[in-house]
Symmetry: D2
Subunit: 133 residues, 4 copies
């Protein structure tokens, strides 16, 4: 991912892009991919019936991470209130989805990897939110 | 849109779908389309330079309405906290974007229509959030 | 949905918006919502194991309809080749997903409604593609 | 991004994930982020009027890469025809957007980086399409 180089060449940024912001963008896109993959892997499991809550949260979390990554990427104009709301919402989505994935971590490796990705993304969103004040 | 019929046939709903919920889903999808269209129409205006903040908010608002519509559509399992957060975030996005659009309503008919759509969607999200308690 | 009014006020359109184009945009957004809802309703069914292929196609079709609706909405600049490709891809997605849904139409009302929505969207995409030549 | 580990733990894959597939997923998500960033950086340029076609293609390309990444990630059930169509559409989107970005590469570093990302993603989609036969 080239979030760093892209933001460095943004006319409104003048090279000022906090590491927290870059990390947040990268974790959001990465977590969106991981949650999409976990929802799909859960759907292929024999005991899919036990994983419907996990699939549902994965689908919601993938959508939220996806657009949080987009919104935080945009640096033109001003949209601080919306960005803070989305960082908060995304941190909540990642906490709920990560906790649910971790309940299945012992049986399903994809849930373990995804749970850890969600918790990492949660922290990156919280950190980016703090740095923005 | 067939949100009503689809939710009526959902195995977890047993016909129980509040009007507020259905209206919220429909306004979210409709507002997502309107904001995408307004961003694009602004981009084609001669004075695009005066509309960059409007375009930026339109792009963010389109993304948020899009996935709020998806998340509220999903009724399997339980995801109340995430849904409330997204309804709040979406109401904020619609307020900010709608207010900005209204600043250009006199010059640009697309901004007027979009501003009204945003404010309608904001109310639908707030109403759905209240009904969910 | 206000696709008609929005396109009428687009600076590049001068009121020229074919009915086929408007109908395609509306069917794409509507089908995106219906497929998201059907994937979720299938996930809540007791026999979810028999519906995994249906869920998978619903998720893909929802994503494709979503962005086809966005791309066809945009009228600034020129992007004919991309638009034709997406209209074709969306028609294929709707055919495959609609056919699969129809296999479950007798047991699940949500699959019947969704199958019909997919086939309607397929036709709207094909018609819009023809009108664009 | 953890596409490799996720697909290795997918119940339908048994460790079989071609490098071409993994690379395609990663390039799609990365290119989606880069195009979103380039559209936004173009919007902030003084001469935004000269970049409207670039912005428009960037927005379309970001959307297409986003969902191609999602669709290729999903391995449950069978959806070969849809996947091939989307890989083709995504390669076309990346070619058109990459070529347009390259026209502005000398003036805008973000367009140069984005043009290269698009061409890399185009090749990754073509390669994944060939390996799938």
């Amino acid at each position: 991912m080239q979030a760093q180089q892209m933001i460095s060449s943004h006319p409104s940024m003048r090279g000022e892009a906090s590491d927290a912001l870059i990390r947040c963008i990268e974790e959001c896109y990465s977590c969106a991919q991981t949650c999409t993959s976990c929802a799909d892997a859960c759907l292929a499991e024999d005991k899919v019936k036990d994983l419907t809550q996990c699939i549902r949260l994965n689908l919601d979390c993938a959508d939220i991470c996806n657009i949080t990554g987009r919104i935080v990427t945009r640096r033109t104009g001003s949209d601080e209130e919306m960005m803070h709301r989305m960082l908060d919402s995304c941190a909540v989505a990642c906490r709920l989805c990560g906790d649910e994935c971790m309940r299945h971590a012992a049986q399903h490796e994809h849930c373990r990897i995804c749970g850890e990705a969600c918790h990492r993304c949660m922290q990156a969103c919280q950190e980016a939110g703090r740095k923005m004040h």
